[in-house]
Amino acid sequence: MTAAALLSQFVQLALALALAPLLVGWVNQCRAWLSNRSAPPLTLPYRTIRKLFMKDAVVASNASPLFRLTPYVVFGAMCCAAAIVPSLATDLPFALAADAIALVGLFALARVFIALAAMDIGTAFGTLGARREMFVGFLAEPALLMVLFTASLISGSTSLPSIVDTLAHRELAIYPSLALAGVAFTMVSLAENARIPVDNPATHLELTMIHEAMLLEYSARHLALIEWASALKLFNYSCIGLALFFPFGIAQGSDDWLAIALAVPVLVAKLAAGGFALAVIETASAKMRIFRAPEFLGTAFLLAVLAMLVRLLLGS
């Protein structure tokens, strides 16, 4: 491990923390444009987070330490995930500590904590949200694993940087296995990030909420951390998607600073395009009934399995 690698690792993490709220702001802006509304400022998520950090936290009197701890665990898990997903360069010293399977585990850890915290207070909505979140989660995680396995089969490794290295050096062509996995991954990402059509991040109807219902009791710095962590999660998922399916532009190694510097605008451009695509999907679809989620995620799982079979049996 070199000092340059450490620095590159640090730059990538800092960039993830800084850009994540911007991505959320961009998606919201695109959604507003697409439905002919005047858009909120791009920086609104930053201001929201700053505002929340400046407020005094209100915590229910029967909250256990778990409730206070959860925002830090969730935020920490998302930071760890950001540190092992190659966004700018593939030389990530931290990636040795965790591979693609551990990445899924990190997301699961955050989910378990937030679901426990939601039930901790004992309100009906928290429990309702936690129940639905686990319902969506247990369907989404296998599909996500299958997508990552497909990519691992191609590169012969479960380490994200080496997957990206391998994929980036292949000839530019359409690979059926990756195409199927890409569709599956998009569907899983929508569910995991509480987006339409599975959940509605903008709703104020407490009875329909999934993710938001678990956060109803949080305020101030706790809420700020969770909001930031949610933005990071969206950023991480976007970066995984981009790294697996559009890996070009990511710098190889950590000593070529010019390549890393060039990777920044490429990443921003790719995220902007991805965010716009997300906004298009969200604007064009309605939220599905919660019991349609198994069909939706079952399809994602099926596609991911197909992708793996195509890779195994046909080698393409």
Partner: protein, 515 residues
């Protein structure tokens, strides 16, 4: 309605649509209601008033309607604390809450099994009755603690979800108690009355000539319907004639109110289905309409436009072209949006078979208004009792029989198109002349009725003049009274996250029923 079989005689009553009053003894009320139901009548309203100042006790009035018109059954309860009247909620289920509210406000007791309070929320001592004439409205009572017993469902895996009265969104307050197993709703019980404002008491401190202003504020989204119903009641008492042009302009305002609310609801229904695009588009159309209202009527919601004897201001000729052009444009855009809604699989999946109220159930529970027309109940005052200008306009009767959210959306789209046509016809063909005439003398102690088909359903106002231009009793009645209990049935068997959509598809008024 013919009550001669029971030996009851009917006297005529001042009203905009044919109406009679039928005094009944307290023992005859239930048979009379049963007879009326057999003749196809439904309940419009039930309210009580304090008659001790005129040598009586309390008077309970039951307003019924059938194809021939309105009938008010009047039950006198001479000795107030002890006398009881028969429970009509077995015949008209929607009467249950009205009976409970009548006791809370006047102290007129009913023989019903359900004696839980409805309007009373520990805001005043339980043995005081705000609508009695000796009730002092001025002191501030210390709010007490209320123990309201909800019906519980027992069983394996059944749990309760309590929602409201404070909600995550900015809406009116209401409490909803769900008994669910998993996501499936076994039972819903509503608790309303959080916005009790003492409107009926306030009426009694007002001059009868000013009451339309308060009536127009009972439920802000129906301000034109309420003000018109009040004006009708007052004009009926005074026997006043309203200039034809004023009636046409009232209808113009009423149809514009219907259009604005339907536009708002169609957008909100899309949004509750997770389709925010619909909300943005319909909100834009609604906003255009409201701005035209401001220009043409001086108020975005046309508050205080309808006044006794006519309307407050004439429609200027300069606005006619703009209103016609706007009606055409909204009709065009709404039909394009309807196509998007109809062909959107995801949205239709949410709307169809959701919150279904079958026509038989709607008839049994007394569902009324726009929601009833989505459940096959072809009742519309504009078509059933067409008074000017509706006799000339001949509005199309819109009925769907699906009874689900999709049907209520379809009724809204159809009524929207029809009301836009009416608006164009009205501004192009309205007769000339004055827009306001003096009401004249108002004889005291006369009861008058007004009934107008608002966008949500029939809005009724029962007005009794007092001596010297005062109001003795005024009961404004919202169609929400009848429709709230139906929602409890509409959600049974649905899943919890569909409730907001079902609730929005009815879009009932809290303020209008809490009074």
């Amino acid at each position: 309605m013919d009550f001669s079989r029971l030996g009851l005689s009917a006297a005529s009553l001042a009203s905009a649509i044919p109406a009679v009053r039928v005094p009944v003894g307290s023992g005859q009320l239930v048979p009379a209601c049963r007879l009326a139901r057999e003749q196809g009548a439904h309940l419009v309203a039930l309210w009580a008033s304090d008659e001790r100042d005129r040598g009586g006790g309390a008077m309970v009035r039951v307003l019924l309607q059938d194809g021939s018109g309105l009938a008010v059954l009047e039950v006198a309860l001479p000795d107030l604390p002890d006398a009881r009247y028969g429970d009509v909620s077995a015949i008209f289920p929607e009467a249950g809450r009205m009976q409970r509210a009548a006791f809370d406000l006047v102290g007129a007791a009913c023989e019903a099994d359900d004696q839980r309070p409805w309007a009373w929320m520990a805001g005043w001592p339980i043995d005081r009755f705000p609508l009695r004439r000796d009730f002092e409205a001025s002191p501030k009572w210390e709010p007490g603690q209320e123990d309201y017993e909800f019906v519980k469902v027992e069983g394996d895996g059944v749990h309760e979800i309590a929602v409201g009265p404070v909600h995550a969104g900015i809406i009116e307050p209401g409490h909803f108690r769900f008994q669910v197993v998993g996501e499936k709703v076994l039972r819903l019980e509503e608790r309303l009355s959080y916005t009790h404002k003492g409107i009926e008491k306030r009426f009694e401190a007002m001059a009868i000539a000013d009451g339309h202003r308060l009536a127009g504020r009972v439920s802000g989204d129906s301000t034109v319907a309420y003000a018109w119903a009040y004006a009708q009641a007052l004009e009926a008492i005074a026997g006043a004639a309203v200039p034809p042009r004023a009636l046409w302009l009232r209808a113009l305002a009423l149809e514009r109110e219907r259009i604005a609310n339907h536009l708002g609801d169609l957008g909100a229904l899309g949004n509750d289905g997770g389709f925010a695009f619909g909300l943005a588009q319909f909100s834009r159309l609604k906003e255009d309409l409201l701005r035209t209202n401001l220009a043409a009527f001086g108020h975005r919601f046309m508050m205080d436009h309808v006044v006794p004897g006519g309307v407050a201001r004439d429609l200027d000729h300069s606005h006619v072209a703009a209103i016609v052009e706007e009606a055409r444009r909204i009709a065009r855009e709404a039909s394009a949006l309807r196509e998007i809604y109809d062909e959107h699989d995801g949205l239709q999946d949410r709307f169809r078979a959701c919150g279904r109220v079958r026509p038989e159930l709607a008839l049994r529970l007394g569902l009324t208004g726009m929601a009833a027309r989505a459940s096959g109940q072809a009742r519309d005052l504009r078509c059933d009792f067409p008074s000017a200008p509706y006799d000339a306009l001949e509005p199309r009767r819109i009925v769907h029989d699906g009874g689900d959210v999709a049907a209520r959306v379809a009724v809204r789209f159809d009524e929207l198109a029809e009301s836009l046509r009416l608006v164009r016809t009205i501004v192009e063909h309205a007769p000339g002349g004055d827009v306001r005439a003096p009401v004249g003398d108002i004889p005291p102690y006369r009861l008058g009725l007004g009934c107008v088909e608002g966008w949500r359903g029939p809005v009724a106002v029962a007005l009794e003049a007092g001596p010297g231009g005062t109001i003795r009793r005024c009961h404004p009645h919202d169609p929400s009274w009848s429709n709230w209990p139906v929602i409890e049935h509409a959600v049974i068997g649905n899943i919890v996250p569909d409730f907001p959509l079902i609730n929005k598809s009815f879009n009932l008024s809290y303020s209008g029923q809490d009074l």
